[in-house]
């Protein structure tokens, strides 16, 4: 079969089984757009800003586990992608990004809409390619998919000069079934001797703790994690990125850890004597002050990326490998030992944990005449029976979802943790809804974040993605205001949101439904009404208590157990 470069691109996507491609046209990709014309197999989603395309593809990827695919033109098209690529990179999300480039003969001449896309994106991709020979185009696309989805996943960019896609030049097409790169061989199975050492240490533990992260979700190891945790009877916590891998409603789950983690999770981390970390990267929002992190613990760390191990925290038993096979093998070895964790020590440990838990650190004022944002999230959880796909933007609202929406399933909680990209939530939700049209998909956002990619409301109409948008409108960049309250003596420098649009009218202007909710008693009915409108995008503008803060909080420079709790909770008094 002889194809042009442009046709090769489209055919390769078909051979790869790509359902959706999120893109925006321009000069350098017009040959490719022409090849997309009139075919139905790969559905093109026309976004309103290239950043939106990357977040949509990213949302799609995180919800499905399949790579998200993006197409944009050279120059400004490519530079508009950078935020989204960096977002995917920080959270290890598999994307394949195709960009047009000026024709090979003029590269380097400051041609119209030329930029060094490979150079600009190099630090925020897993790998990137510039295709200089059309005979290598198909193979390069195959490599891109392979690299993006194996090992520690991540975005891969393929920059394609316009002459390479010339419709007049046809060459034989062959899409390789597999590729081998001599320089890239990600580890799958863990070293059995290391796993045995880990099993021994685990069985010795008196105050064990499991700390699970995004790698468990990325590695589809949720089942293995559940089985292992239940067999051991150990307490478990999760990072922001790992929520849902272990059921949020389970008794053994202590809630999220870290800067805005629960009291019990952070205290148990601090006091534990053996820590089993899996698919988590000891981020500074988790560890707090490094030299006081888990001071009594011997640490086991399972991670597919050797560079995540002992990067921030020196660990005792490193295990490089995919979470799924390693956790399975660990359980096999534990069972084979004929032993069980020390029952007496474990029950004493649980008693201690229950005392911490009894503090009920997430309680808030339920009598208020103002809408409490926590209440909205709790009600959302109830109305969606804990089963929705929830995306978010960045700020307080994001933390409240992490704390109050108890995720019981993996891949349902989709947010930007590593880069913390405002503007992520809405396009990500559209990407998820395209993948799962029958499921409830909600974007929980803030009035500042939502405005960063608001233009995608138009995409949502065009592709009929009736998501629900829950805007926790505190008329502040709440997270910024909170930091200013705590560390800058309430000097609220440029963190208010003045001149806000009328979101109801805005939603309507885009062809959707808008609702304004101002009283606590209207929260539940509004949510129920919104979710009953199956085929409508509903924008729910909740006017919330504008001074609410996210608690607990480990402030900068503090150790993880030195949490700032809300003024109405005192561990000294209550746990005495």
């Amino acid at each position: 079969m002889d194809l042009s470069g442009a046709e090769i691109v489209v055919q390769a996507l078909k051979d790869e089984g790509v359902e959706f491609i999120f893109g925006y046209p321009g000069g350098a990709v017009l040959h490719i757009y022409d090849a997309l014309f009139g075919q139905e197999e790969v559905k093109h989603v026309l976004v309103r800003h290239e950043q939106g395309a990357t977040h949509m593809a990213d949302g799609y990827a995180r919800a499905t586990g399949k790579p998200g695919v993006v197409l944009a033109t050279s120059g400004p098209g490519a530079t508009n992608l950078v935020t989204g690529i960096a977002t995917a990179y920080m959270d290890s999300s598999p994307l394949v990004v195709l960009t047009g480039q000026v024709p090979t003969p003029v590269i380097g001449s400051d041609a119209f809409q030329e930029c060094d896309t490979v150079g600009i994106t190099r630090p925020c991709v897993k790998h990137n390619f510039l295709v200089k020979d059309r005979h290598k185009l198909a193979e390069t696309i195959k490599k891109a998919f392979y690299i993006a989805t194996t090992g520690r996943p991540g975005p891969v960019l393929v920059d394609i000069p316009k002459d390479i896609t010339d419709p007049k030049v046809k060459i034989p097409y062959h899409y390789p079934k597999t590729v081998h790169l001599r320089s890239y061989n990600p580890t799958v199975k863990g070293n059995p001797r290391q796993i045995r050492k880990a099993a021994e240490l685990i069985l010795e533990a008196k105050r064990p703790m499991i700390y699970s992260g995004g790698g468990v979700i990325l590695g589809e190891a949720s089942e293995e994690l559940r089985e292992l945790t239940r067999w051991l009877g150990f307490p478990i916590t999760s990072t922001l990125m790992g929520l849902g891998a272990y059921p949020g409603t389970d008794r053994q789950f202590l809630g999220m850890l870290g800067m805005h983690g629960t009291y019990e999770a952070n205290m148990a981390m601090h006091e534990c004597d053996v820590l089993l970390a899996v698919g988590a990267r000891f981020d500074d929002r988790v560890t707090g002050k490094l030299d006081e992190f888990c001071p009594y613990a011997k640490i086991i760390h399972i991670d597919v990326d050797p560079s995540s191990i002992s990067k921030n925290v020196l660990v005792d038993i490193p295990i490089v490998g995919q979470a799924k096979p390693v956790l399975a093998e660990l359980l096999v070895q534990l069972k084979a030992s004929g032993r069980r964790p020390e029952a007496e020590a474990l029950s004493a440990w649980w008693e201690q944990i229950e005392r911490w838990r009894a503090l009920d650190c997430l309680r808030y004022d339920r009598e208020s005449s103002l809408i409490k944002p926590q209440y909205v999230v709790e009600q959302l959880w109830q109305v969606t029976r804990g089963k929705a796909y929830v995306t978010s933007d960045v700020g307080q609202h994001q933390m409240w979802v992490a704390q109050y929406y108890k995720f019981d399933y993996p891949r349902r909680w989709i947010n930007s943790g590593g880069l913390g990209t405002m503007g992520f939530g809405l396009p990500a939700a559209i990407g998820v809804k395209l993948a799962f049209p029958e499921e409830d998909v909600v974007c929980v956002t803030g009035e500042a974040s939502i405005q960063m990619c608001i233009q995608e409301l138009s995409t949502a109409l065009q592709y009929k993605t009736p998501i629900k948008i829950v805007n926790l409108n505190n008329r502040y960049m709440g997270m910024v205001r909170q930091w200013q309250e705590f560390t800058y003596e309430s000097r609220y420098s440029h963190s208010y949101m003045d001149a806000l649009p009328d979101f109801v009218k805005l939603a309507e202007a885009y062809g959707h439904v808008g609702m304004l909710i101002e009283k606590p008693q209207d929260v539940r009915p509004a949510l129920e009404e919104a979710f009953s409108m199956k085929d409508k995008l509903v924008f729910l503008d909740f006017i919330t208590d504008r001074t609410e803060n996210v608690y607990p909080m480990v402030e900068a420079g503090k150790a993880q157990h030195q949490m700032r709790l809300p003024p109405w909770i005192s561990p000294e008094r209550e746990l005495a």
Binding site: V118, K126, S183, S307
Partner: protein
């Protein structure tokens, strides 16, 4: 501690900037870097001299290994190895200094490879500290120009860094 890290990488445009970019992005220091193709023209050998404590060097090796274009990484300073650097020095050499410089070059096993009435070019190879020592022995105002390749290195014995 000073470390010499050897790597084999794909001989592709962009591979060098990935390595250099990694060092600058992560704030690692590069004292010297040399690179050239090997007997297999698709593979380049790079030698990087860097400094850092054990944990930094461990991260550097891991991060280098993570680059898709990098095939193999070895910290050769961890093992018994030979280090060599090439240096070309142009010196002002007149009157009685001509003899003195020549003697000094001989002591350091340098070779004079270009001669004019008023200058020499001296070629010298050796471990970097030896080259430093030679320069230290030349009077400042003799030196016109110094060109150093940066160190390269190889393991002693049969063990090697190859595909």
């Amino acid at each position: 501690m000073r470390h010499i890290i050897s790597l084999l990488l794909e001989n592709e445009s962009g591979a060098l900037s990935r390595v250099a970019g990694l060092f600058s992005a992560r704030g690692y220091n590069i004292e010297a870097l040399t690179v050239a193709p090997t007997e297999d023209p698709t593979v380049s050998r790079m030698t990087i001299v860097t400094r850092g404590d054990e944990r930094v060097i461990e991260q550097i090796t891991k991060q280098l290994n993570k680059l898709i274009d990098v095939i193999k990484v070895l910290d050769i300073s961890e093992a018994d190895h030979i280090e060599r650097e090439l240096m070309l020095v142009k010196v002002r050499a007149k009157d009685q200094e001509r003899e003195e410089i020549k003697r000094l070059a001989d002591i350091f096993r340098g070779r004079i490879i270009d001669v004019t009435a008023s200058s020499y070019v001296i070629e010298m190879t050796g471990a970097s500290p030896k080259l430093d020592a030679f320069l230290a022995n030349l009077a400042k105002d003799w030196i016109i120009e110094v060109v150093r390749s940066g160190p390269t290195g190889i393991l002693r014995g049969e063990r090697g860094l190859h595909l």
